[in-house]
């Protein structure tokens, strides 16, 4: 015990060694910027920084890398709240309520809440990591594939809470996510599912480009259509920051529960912050007695994910440190840092020195906590400046966001195809947003699908059917059941007690006849795609086909119900979220013209990258956009275009040598 405390103290001292501390500060600075910039994500940055750690000592290297990672989720939240564009794929969930608050003029409160809850989450992560050390190995080892399968199933049931008011759409969306997850080589028999002969689809479609596309592109379109700065109202002063901080303590138990949720779920390999943020959001919705404000700017919808996406790091680290099993993408890269440093994660990391490296493990704990304290403090100092960015003209911001979207999508795996994925899912996300289909269930299905499928087969291969009776499985099953039934029972009881509760939604049924609008077209396309997918899956064989059938069939049936609803034109119109609060009115003719224009620019940027390569496309599109779409003056245009290009060229081409592909035109000329 004494040794533990001494290791805890040594760990702290190690972090405050001046070279370690300054490297951590550099890490924090990098993470700060990467977090704020949309598109560019923590894992990408970490992979790019990996070559620099060869010359560092172990403590320095991890202080540098962990400091960087630990703060991306914190500053990423800021971008999500202010811009509605996810700063990190792991902060997409804070958009839902955080950005709604910002549009309601409560940006300050949202930021205060998200920063404070992030800090709580990070501290929770650090403490959990430290406390878990003596018990982590037996606890994790008591979990096998059956329990992992049940946990992913439990996660999938959270779709219901993420569906908002329209449960049917939500469940269909979850089904679509699960179906999308089956794209790629099936993990058991190696059969290609829906790969269309494309090698890049063998590993499935990446969560990062999908999340970026899903949230960043619709918001960019929105920004262009409104033709304003991000904040539609004038933010006089950033009031309410303290209010947000107080909110964190007002909903203290929610914040703690979501922190715990983040940490504990992340112990499971395959569950990173990309998942836990949504589980936390779902939990915040589910556990709140009054749900009406969610999606329209409820601070609880900010606090939950804000805490969880930070606390996840602690959980992922537990698995990585104690077993050498990378729990997420970030951890896989961190494991590389372990290899480079010649440190073997495993039991040794949990034993006090001189036999083990517990002091190093404790230095991780300190880095997570200290780096977040520093970051949050710095953020509070500069909040007003940060918030002012939202008042910059949209025309200056849009080309930057577009660049970062494509850059982030490409640089994650150096894969050109990921930019196409961003574009496709940007389109899908935009349509879904317009037609009020919830997007989070798609993401949740996408992440949990492979986990569930893999673990189901591993469980049955290892245990036959007897895995069903394992105590862990039964316990998780009971929890799942309670999770599903409790809200239903509660609702029933509430209806009994107050039968005249005012309905929050109004059913509008049109006079007569069938409706053939965009909703019908979209639902019909979903049905056609699902049917085609099911038709194709007939050749997959039982093992590879099981999941597509089991998911595809009910999803198809439910989608048919949805189609019937769309045809009847039953529309649940909830109180429009921002009407009346919207400072800018745009006539529909203008809106439609602007929509087509920005769609053109978005696709055009991609085409330019494709034809000319990044190096030429970046300055060219910048100048064209600023002059033609933004009607900016030449000086501003030149400064912006040159500055962006310089930043891009120096950092990504020269320093980090990201292998950007040559433009098609040049390869054609050179090749032949």
């Amino acid at each position: 015990m004494l040794e533990m405390f001494s290791a805890l103290f040594t760990g702290l001292l190690q972090v405050f060694n001046w070279s370690t501390f300054s490297l951590m500060m550099i890490g924090i600075a990098v993470g700060f910027v990467v977090g704020i910039l949309p598109g560019l994500g923590g894992p990408t940055a970490m992979a790019l920084m990996l070559p620099f750690i060869f010359k560092m000592s172990a403590v320095e290297a991890f202080a540098f890398l962990l400091g960087m990672t630990a703060v991306t989720a914190t500053t990423g939240d800021i971008t999500s709240v202010l811009f509605g564009v996810p700063g990190e794929p792991t902060t997409a969930s804070t958009i839902v309520d955080g950005h709604a608050m910002a549009r309601n003029g409560e940006a300050g409160r949202a930021l205060g809440a998200v920063l404070m809850s992030s800090l709580v989450g990070a501290i929770f992560a650090g403490v959990a990591l430290a406390v878990a050390i003596p018990v982590v190995r037996p606890v994790v080892l008591s979990f096998g594939s059956p329990e992992f399968f049940m946990l992913s199933l439990l996660g999938i049931t959270f779709v219901a809470s993420l569906s908002g008011e329209d449960q049917l759409k939500g469940i269909v969306a979850g089904g679509i996510g699960l179906m999308l997850a089956t794209i790629g080589l099936d993990p058991i028999s190696g059969i290609q599912r829906y790969t269309f002969g494309q090698l890049f689809l063998w590993d499935g479609i990446g969560l990062v480009p999908i999340t970026i596309g899903f949230y960043a592109i619709p918001e960019t379109i929105e920004l262009a259509v409104l033709g304003t700065s991000i904040s539609q109202q004038k933010v006089e002063k950033l009031g309410g920051v303290m209010e947000g901080v107080k909110d964190t303590f007002r909903h203290w138990w929610l914040v703690i529960r979501c922190s715990a949720l983040g940490t504990f779920t992340a112990i499971i390999p395959g569950m990173g912050a990309a998942t836990t943020q949504w589980l936390a959001y779902a939990h915040a919705v589910q556990s709140s007695p009054d749900k009406e404000r969610f999606g329209k700017g409820d601070v609880r919808g900010v606090l939950g994910p804000g805490a969880a996406n930070n606390s996840t790091l602690g959980g992922s680290l537990i698995t990585t440190i104690a077993f050498g099993v990378p729990a997420s993408v970030v951890m896989a890269i961190l494991l590389g840092a372990f290899i480079i440093q010649g440190i073997v994660p495993g039991p040794d990391m949990l034993i006090p020195p001189p036999k083990g490296k517990l002091d190093l493990t404790f230095s991780f704990v300190w880095v997570i906590i200290i780096s977040n304290i520093i970051t949050v403090a710095v953020c509070f100092l500069f909040l007003n400046t940060l918030a002012k960015v939202t008042q910059v003209r949209g025309s200056l911001i849009i080309p930057l966001i577009l660049l970062l979207i494509y850059l982030g999508a490409f640089a994650e795996k150096n894969a050109f195809e990921d930019m196409i994925i961003v574009l496709l899912f940007g389109g899908l996300g935009w349509v879904m947003e317009k037609l009020q289909w919830p997007r989070p269930p798609v993401l949740l299905g996408l992440v949990l699908g492979p986990l569930a499928e893999n673990r189901l087969f591993l469980a049955s291969d290892n245990y036959g059917l007897s895995w069903i009776w394992r105590p862990g499985v039964l316990i998780i099953f009971a929890v799942t059941l309670v999770g599903i039934l409790y809200p239903l029972i509660k609702k029933k009881r509430e209806e009994k007690t107050s039968p005249t509760a005012a309905p929050t939604t109004v059913e509008i049924t049109p006079e007569s006849g069938l409706q053939f609008g965009w909703p019908v077209i979209f639902t019909a396309s979903v049905i056609i795609l699902l049917a085609l997918a099911l038709w194709q899956s007939r050749n997959f064989g039982v093992r590879a086909g099981l999941f597509p059938w089991v998911i595809g069939t009910p999803t198809l049936v439910l989608a048919l119900f949805q189609l019937a609803k769309d045809l009847k034109g039953h529309k649940k119109i909830s109180e429009p979220a921002f009407e009346g609060e919207m400072a800018v009115e745009v006539s529909s003719a203008v809106a439609s013209r602007r929509t087509w224009t920005i769609l053109g620019w978005t696709v055009g940027f991609f085409v330019a990258i494709w034809l000319l390569g990044f190096s030429y496309a970046v300055p060219l599109t910048m100048v064209l956009y600023l002059k033609l779409a933004g009607r900016e003056k030449w000086p501003i245009t030149a400064v912006m275009a040159f500055g962006t290009w310089g930043f891009f060229y120096l950092l990504f081409e020269r320093m980090l040598s990201v292998p950007f592909p040559d433009g098609l035109i040049f390869t054609l000329f050179k090749g032949q």
Partner: protein, 341 residues
């Protein structure tokens, strides 16, 4: 006048081309060599490549910059096809993807767009040493009681077609007749190890260089035991551990182990150049690669990262690969059957 100009330009271009081709020394000055690695940053393939990238420059005349580029996907097949089809054969691109793909080509694996015989080879920093490690809790502590097990012993796998654990385990099952139930679908050998520790499976068969480092503690305490190895030469760390090839029942079985495990271990971490790379540059890079693997600075780096170095020269790799293409069709058919069904 115009014609003359064009001729002059052409002459200049030709002389420039020949000049640059004539001496690889000048060629590399101020250039950047990219090592295209088919796996993500932080993995084993990546770490070796980065260690090599840090030291190979000083062994190349002209001291070019050397960077590592990760091109992930399809178990590094995307990188393999890229190096073959897309990368310019100018001596500035080095490819590093999993060598199991060469056998994959012979067996008709889907998606392969290269012909292994046309790559130029640089060599490999290490030959793999395949071992089967089991937990004590599984009760399988020697190959004898493994053989005697009445129920199939559960072994972890990643995906069909993966050199280790999947291919090795399947071949051992067929060639030695060990009672094995391969449970595949774990994400990497780390998860296999975790599943073995939690008691879900008995163990797995993959490289000793990874097992010996990541499972050190359990090996020392006797909680994990290496019961079998499949190597051309008995590994010095494992003198007592029986060799699979000696336990194989038939010639066919021995041949399968030799091709599917021994050869594969030699070529699994091969570094390649695109087909058509100028011969002089191939020579320069081969020599540089060889010298790097002997460079004390490189070895110090590798030692710090616990990366073993046991180089396989380029000609040995060429020999292994050309042997793959001369296999008896019966063996090819049998291997296809075992590995992909």
């Amino acid at each position: 006048m115009g014609k003359k100009l064009i001729l002059l330009a052409l002459a200049l271009m030709v002389s420039f081309e020949t000049a640059s081709a004539a001496s690889a020394d000048d060629f590399y000055k101020g250039k950047t060599i990219r090592i295209v690695v088919g796996f993500s940053a932080g993995g084993g393939f990546d770490t070796y490549a980065r260690a090599i990238a840090r030291h190979i420059s000083k062994h190349i005349p002209g001291q070019p910059a050397v960077v590592v580029e990760n091109m992930t996907g399809a178990g590094s097949l995307i990188a393999a096809n890229h190096v073959y089809k897309v990368a310019k054969p100018d001596g500035l691109t080095i490819g590093h993807f999993i060598g199991g793909l060469f056998l994959g080509q012979v067996l008709g694996q889907k998606g392969i767009e290269f012909d292994a015989r046309r790559f130029e080879y640089l060599g490999a920093p290490i030959t793999d040493h395949v071992v089967c490690a089991m937990t004590k809790a599984s009760g399988i502590t020697s190959v004898e009681n493994w053989m005697a097990s009445k129920t199939p012993v559960k072994m972890g796998g990643i995906a069909p077609g993966t050199s280790t654990p999947d291919n090795a385990t399947r071949i051992l099952k067929a060639a030695v007749g060990l009672p094995i139930q391969l449970v595949t679908g774990y994400k990497g050998t780390a998860e296999v190890r975790l599943a073995a520790e939690s008691g879900e499976i008995a163990g797995g068969c993959w490289g000793w260089d990874s097992v010996s480092v990541t499972w050190r503690k359990a090996l020392d305490s006797g909680d994990a035991v290496v019961v079998l190895q499949a190597n051309r030469r008995t590994h010095p760390d494992l003198p007592q551990v029986p060799q699979a090839i000696k336990l194989a029942k038939t010639d066919e079985g021995r041949k399968m182990i030799d091709v599917g495990i021994h050869s594969d271990s030699d070529i699994v971490r091969t570094y390649t150049l695109p087909p058509g790379t100028p011969k002089d540059r191939v020579q320069v890079l081969r020599k540089a690669f060889e010298d790097t693997l002997k460079d004390p600075d490189f070895l110090a780096d590798a030692n710090k990262s616990k990366l073993n170095v046991d180089p396989v020269p380029a000609d040995a790799i060429e020999k292994d690969i050309s042997a793959l293409f001369k296999l008896d069709p019966a063996i090819v058919g049998k291997l296809k059957d075992i590995l992909y069904n």
